[in-house]
Symmetry: C2
Subunit: 479 residues, 2 copies
């Protein structure tokens, strides 16, 4: 079964639904949306559709189903796995949700906010703050990432430790299904046992079984204060013990716990202007912690962090530690963490793996697997950093100095990536912790997926999207 | 397509897989498992299969698929909607998970516990307590309800306000899919973005797309102390304001918030020996609250409750309040709440509706809908009580005194139930908040379900269980 290339007549039908504001086939208007955020995938599209509301999305999908036109839903185009990029065939039409950007605070007391799919994360943050609340999910692309994309990729970020991924923050949802029908589950029900939870199915589905058009989102109370701390530790294992200690004593006052090796700190202080090591002592590994206060009467985060770090030092859970003495210093600590990828790029080409294993196994994974890779592929350097508290590490492998980059990526690079994912599977882990599958990981996903699981995913995809028009080529490797 | 009646030869193949301990076709051994908990549905089954482990479950399912034998998975047989009861055809075989009852504490520090599907909730509570932890979900049937059943019905209970339903407590899961393949997602990954979340699909699926065989469950720290408080209020609306106040100031120290009308209190103190009103003042409505401490150094729950109740009284959010002065008194307060159904039975026949609407709409629902029913059907009395904090009320309607019960159930009773569910739908709510659909609600579910949603559920059911052998007749109304 092949899907149809949209011809001029079909395109004119889309234009008739959407009007001039919602339709373009001008090459220059479409071009910026054809390449993924990381610049590794570039596709083609005969038109860019920008519906103004759910009814228009439904009409577009109905028409697409009628003519068997493939649709590629797109929000901020800031995904990491090219899940919103069309293929090169020129058959796939981009369906942008960006014009749908209304935010409605439903009930500030309940903390629920209703958003169109195209609402940009930064704007959601501001809308929540305006009513004394906080939307706790945040990530680097917040200036462009949209609510629909965040839901469709079950986005993560640095606040997951306490607040969970996007899945935990969705109270209600509306989507257009592959036949153009509208699935409305916007009522924020805390309990609902009417069968399979379609909402859960649509979260993280990358637009392959429906297009998220609206959502009701949970918020949390606004922060009163925070404290960012930095600790030097010996190893990932010691960092894990420190994490458990902080969770046991800090409970939900601990909102973030990130780790990085000395090698990452060196790369940042070498390549990123204005950064310097938070500690004047040398350590093999480092942990960045954020403690928060969002309830009046709680012990201030600074005081809590001081107490806990002193106690942790006394229990030999860290080598040295410091607390940011100002908001500027807190931002400087976070800047080190957030600049690792940029610093690494400046240092040379590297493979990037967004992986997860059970939290309790992550330290062992890093300690056991890094030397194997470095000795099997001489000259490579591993760099594991990120969300230890979520069992989610960005496991990067830097190419040896002086190699021909293109041939290295195609040869050893490919082998290393397969090796990393093989090991992740041996730990029961995931080759995609927070970025999704998209186009970038679909082959490796197919290679490594449990056959029972893969068969179930294919069955669901084919059952809900029998024409195969919803973001084909993404997420689910079809036979 | 009709499924097969298992003949002697097929039954002997099941026996060969399971051995004498795992197989019976003796009428007296099967009889206790043919009627649902509420005694409203009785079926027939030619055999009761009791596998000892996942491999045996897989072999049973494979054999069932080969011969097209329908399987009815069953745990403690304590569900409320006859989801684990075979139909009357005599074609359906019961697959009991009760022999699979191992509990393994994986990592006390992580708080994760691994359970076979047949583990009884009470035993899970004890296993968690033995390592200084708590499994926070609890309900009346805890002495018989099993982990597999709790997952397959996404069970609720009185602690959902703080800890969520079963869905929130499952970290990992294993299931046998309808073709007999084993889906293993036991690794407790905090982040995993590899496509549709099958774990979420299996939770609440009532065994219609797979049989849950094992799970890894979250626990929470053991309680240090608790305080149970009782308040008299004017109305559900005032109770809702009180709830918001307690959530705002008590945060996650508030673990339960239940409401009941004076009529329910009267029924309990009249019909249940040893109960008496907690307050000596008269109130139209009552709220039962539980405050907990599970972190050292927190203000004791008694003190917290006293402060908050005084403040709430000062703000006119309640009429009068009292705090249980001993654990025995705390139990006495809870006994009132837990005896409502029993007291009501003693008072006469009634319809029971387990419904949810958005939390903020529940007070209005109760206040607007109750008088309509009582005036439309003279002599009926409504009784709304339960989990206000979850937007989940048990909305009962007592039959007029002296009616012929059988004909009332078939006539006005049926009309009233349809009316209640119609109104629930108008509020965007659910006709099954925590009990599920099973056999008991499948017709009303089909009548009221959003067609887009129903079509999706059918497509998923047919795709994953094309032979229709997994608990047929439950949850998903097939065309």
């Amino acid at each position: 079964m092949e899907n149809t290339v949209p011809d001029v007549k079909i395109l004119s039908e889309f234009r008739a639904i959407l009007g001039p504001k919602g339709y373009t086939d001008e090459v220059e208007m479409i071009a910026p949306w054809l390449t993924d955020w990381r610049g590794r995938f570039t596709g083609a599209a005969p038109a860019l559709l920008s519906p103004a509301n759910t009814d228009e999305v439904a009409a577009v999908v109905k028409l697409a189903a009628k003519h068997r036109i493939s649709l590629v839903p797109q929000g901020g185009n800031s995904g990491m796995v090219a899940g919103a990029t069309p293929d090169k065939s020129g058959e796939q039409v981009i369906l942008s949700l960006r014009r749908m950007n209304k935010i409605t605070v439903m009930d500030a007391e309940d903390g629920l906010i209703c958003c169109d799919a195209g609402v940009i994360l930064q704007n959601l943050h501001e809308a929540a703050a305006a009513v004394g609340r906080r939307f706790p999910l945040t990530l680097g692309g917040k200036g462009s990432a949209t609510v629909g994309g965040l839901i469709s990729t079950n986005a993560g970020g640095t606040q997951v430790l306490r607040h969970g991924t996007m899945r935990m923050l969705v109270a209600g949802l509306e989507a257009v299904l592959p036949d153009g029908s509208i699935y409305n589950a916007m009522a924020p029900l805390k309990k609902d046992n009417r069968g399979y939870d379609l909402k859960q199915l649509l979260i993280g589905a990358e637009g392959t079984v429906g297009i998220v058009t609206q959502a009701v989102l949970h918020t949390v109370p606004a922060l009163i204060d925070r404290c960012v701390a930095w600790a030097g530790v010996e190893s990932p294992a010691q960092a894990y013990d420190l994490l458990l200690f902080m969770q046991r004593h800090g409970r939900d006052r601990l909102e973030g716990f990130e780790i990085l090796p000395q090698r990452a700190l060196n790369a940042v202080t070498t390549h990123i202007a204005g950064t310097r090591p938070p500690l004047d002592t040398a350590h093999r590994w480092h942990a960045l912690m954020e403690f928060v206060q969002d309830e009046p009467g709680q012990i201030p985060p600074n005081e809590l962090a001081t107490q806990l770090l002193e106690k942790a030092m006394h229990e030999n859970l860290l080598g040295n530690a410091t607390i940011a003495s100002s908001d500027a210093q807190a931002e400087a600590f976070w800047k080190i963490r957030d600049s690792i990828a940029e610093a690494e790029r400046a240092a040379g080409p590297a493979l990037q793996h967004d992986i997860s294993v059970p939290v309790s196994a992550m330290a062992r994974f890093i300690e056991d697997e890094s030397p194997v890779i470095e000795s099997t592929y001489p000259g490579t350097k591993t760099l594991a950093f990120g969300h230890l508290g979520d069992g989610n590490i960005h496991f990067h492998v830097k190419a040896p100095d002086g190699v021909d980059v293109t041939s290295w990526y195609a040869g050893d690079g490919k082998a290393i990536t397969s090796h990393v994912y093989n090991r992740v599977r041996a730990y029961g882990g995931s080759l995609s912790a927070e970025h999704g599958i998209g186009q970038a990981k679909i082959d490796e996903f197919e290679r490594l997926a449990d056959p029972a699981r893969l068969a179930a995913l294919r069955a669901i995809k084919n059952a809900l999207d029998p024409l195969g028009i919803m973001n084909p080529g993404k997420l689910v490797p079809l036979a």
